[in-house]
């Protein structure tokens, strides 16, 4: 990376590859949808099912947006699923048994997840712990906390809606899970808003350029005056914060906070980011790709459940589609 001209050519090549990748993944999404429409014409290509798939995408989707920023800096966050569980249970016990305020739950969950993310950030940016190890530790710590906080028991959150299910009030917790605006679930709006914000921040702000620069070549970024440490710190805090939002979306739909929830969500989030074209080596990231990656997983899951395929076949198929999606894409990024 000493030759400037070469660097530039490389960067241009990367930009082109990224565009192609987004198209390629969009084609995968369309193909999966067509496959669903052919195999299950009555139940798959319906407005109701599209809404269902988007709602299901929202939980992992929000995590994946945060993960895109983390991976763009050549980092990784293995703790998001555990943080979702810990933040949910923490929010649940903050509400207590007679609590009726959704706001308490929402704030407590988001703050707690952000706090856990900040612990990751501190260890990585200032303690110089390798991200894989630091977040692996948090993976274990947060899951342990989730179990510990309420003696391994789930917390029911139905009281936040007066104990009933029907028509949650706007801005109550359950409203974020089942409420709708113009027929579209609130959780989908939240996911889309975060995806769009993520795109703007990553592609149209100086902060976004810094994130990419840090991932591309840390030393060069430092010499160019990028506050490398602060940028690295910030992406893990962001990942924790978004884990908090994701917690709210999940618990709102589930009506409870379970210490075993969020199990292995990090793998789905990382998978979506990677098939979306963000490089695990850092320096290249695509929010559109991540969004399409999340949709790909939701389509696969919905289609295979609708076809009542056995788990073994589901696992094999999912793996093959991930591998296929990556192979179909950029020859240059495979190694």
């Amino acid at each position: 990376m000493t030759d400037t001209a070469q660097t530039w050519r490389g960067a241009l090549g990367r930009a082109k590859a990224l565009e192609f990748q987004e198209y390629a993944l969009a084609i995968v999404v369309v193909l999966l949808f067509i496959a669903g429409a052919i195999l299950k014409p009555d139940t798959f290509p319906t407005w109701d099912n599209i809404r269902n798939m988007l709602t299901q995408s929202s939980v992992v989707g929000v995590l994946a947006i945060g993960m895109t920023f983390v991976i763009a800096t050549a980092g990784i966050d293995l703790s998001v699923g555990s943080m979702v569980a810990a933040a949910g249970v923490f929010g649940g016990i903050m509400v207590g048994t007679d609590g009726t305020s959704s706001l308490v739950f929402i704030l407590a969950a988001i703050l707690f997840a952000t706090f856990l993310g900040t612990c990751n950030a501190t260890a990585i940016a200032y303690g110089r712990v390798v991200p894989f190890i630091a977040t692996l530790a948090m993976f274990s710590i947060a899951r342990g906390l989730a179990l510990l906080l309420n003696d391994k028991l789930p917390v029911s959150l139905l009281d936040l809606n007066g104990g009933s299910f029907g028509d949650p009030r706007p801005f109550s917790l359950l409203w974020f899970g089942v409420g709708r605006i113009f027929g579209i679930p609130v959780s989908v709006f939240v996911f889309l808003a975060i995806a769009i914000l993520g795109w703007v921040v990553l592609n149209r702000t100086r902060y976004g350029r810094y994130v990419i620069a840090v991932g591309g070549n840390r030393e060069a970024a430092r010499i160019a005056g990028v506050p490398v440490r602060r940028i690295i710190f910030s992406v893990y805090v962001l990942s924790g914060f978004l884990a908090g939002i994701s917690t709210v979306l999940l618990c709102a739909r589930l009506g409870s906070a379970s210490p075993v929830s969020g199990n292995l969500y990090e793998l789905d989030a990382i998978g979506a980011v990677v098939i979306g074209g963000t490089s695990l080596a850092g320096g290249r990231a695509s929010i559109v790709g991540t969004f399409l990656g999340v949709l790909t997983f939701a389509l696969i899951f919905s289609l295979m459940t609708q076809l009542n395929m056995s788990t073994e076949i589901q696992q094999v198929t999912k793996g093959l589609i991930v591998l296929g999606a990556v192979l179909l894409q950029r020859p240059e990024a495979r190694y």
Partner: protein, 347 residues
């Protein structure tokens, strides 16, 4: 340089503190779980002979209501006897459980009570204990060799499938669409609960009027249960009953059905006998029944271990020795008899 070092040490301290709190938490938990009841020999009542029995129990990580209840019930049973010295070990996974049991063997207890994370994986270490003269009582998940345990107590997973099939077939008069939300794929508990169910449906409704339209694993996990059921609700426009393999997971399934506003269309059954499930059965509506798979079998296991240690047996049996295998019957809990079974509910 010094600032940098300060930052690093602060961060290190933070990580350590975090680690410590986590450990402390664990210790707390273990402390609660491993309270050793050392009984004064003179006050021994049960055995009458004045000797004490040292029992060590080993269970998988209790990240699930049912396993949590197993630990509590075992502990409570041990506390009832003055002549029992009891220690409970909670393992993180199959490997560490094997190590834990090896360590326990070196402490030379009279009896080991083991609920293995994975029966096959822990069979060799159980055999090792038996060869060292320590009696082993196997709970719930079976070892794969007959010489790995002196006695075994387990629930009847196949029977649970049978009871669920009978209940659903009767309620629907062999006509309708059934969805099955299974547990964790690939373990015997799930396979047996499924096999008992499908075998019985086939026998009981040979005309094929009762159809299992979807069968998917929910991994004993409420959020997996939720998303799987959401997808099944999309695919199936007409569902009459849902057979779920677990009460905890069923809460997610219930939520999916309610979110879709289809709770009048179908009913649901669980397995286990949790407080939550019993409450909903009492209230009536979507949750119609659960099939008892009672964690208090852990209490029986400790009692059996004690009798084995004392060299005694059940007076009613001929010969009185503790049986090789005890199968706890499953029971159907519905609105009609929930009051009677509520005392056994676990949270």
């Amino acid at each position: 340089m010094s600032r940098k070092r300060l930052a690093i040490s602060v961060a290190a301290a933070l990580v350590l503190a975090l680690g410590a709190t986590a450990c402390m938490g664990d210790d707390d938990d273990d402390a609660a779980a491993t309270t050793t009841d050392t009984a004064a020999e003179t006050t021994a009542t049960g055995g009458g002979s004045g000797e004490t029995v040292k029992i060590i129990a080993s269970v998988p990580p209790t990240d699930h209501g049912w396993l949590g209840a197993i630990s509590k019930d075992a502990q409570a049973a041990a506390e009832k006897h003055d002549d029992v010295e009891f220690e409970l070990l909670q393992a993180a996974d199959a490997d560490s459980q094997a190590q834990q049991i090896q360590q326990a063997i070196s402490q030379k207890p009279d009896v080991l009570v083991v609920l293995p994370q994975d029966g096959a994986a822990l069979t060799p270490v159980a055999q090792q204990a038996e060869r060292a003269g320590i009696r082993v009582v196997n709970v719930d998940r079976l070892f794969t060799a007959p010489d790995a345990a002196t006695a075994t107590i387990l629930g009847d997973n196949y029977q649970i499938g049978v009871l669920a099939a009978n209940y659903i077939a009767d309620e629907l008069k062999c006509q309708g669409n059934v969805v099955e939300i299974q547990g964790l794929a690939g373990i015997s508990v799930t396979e047996d609960r499924t096999k008992g169910f499908t075998d019985t449906i086939r026998q009981k409704c040979p005309d094929g009027g009762l159809k299992i339209v979807a069968s998917q694993p929910g991994d004993f996990n409420p959020d997996k249960g939720l998303t799987v059921m959401e997808n099944i609700l999309q695919a199936q426009s007409d569902i009459d009953a849902v057979y779920t393999h677990d009460d905890d997971m069923a809460q997610g399934v219930v939520q999916a059905i309610r979110n879709a506003g289809r709770d009048d269309e179908m009913f649901l059954t669980g397995v286990g006998g949790s407080q939550d499930a019993m409450q909903q059965i009492k209230e009536g509506g979507l949750y119609r029944a659960t099939f008892l798979y009672n964690p208090n079998m852990a209490a029986s296991a400790v009692n059996m271990a004690r009798l084995i240690g004392l060299g005694e047996g059940f007076a009613e049996l001929v010969p009185p020795e503790v049986p090789r295998q005890v199968v706890v019957p499953a029971a159907v809990v519905t609105q009609d008899n929930v009051d009677e079974y509520e005392q056994y509910a676990f949270d």
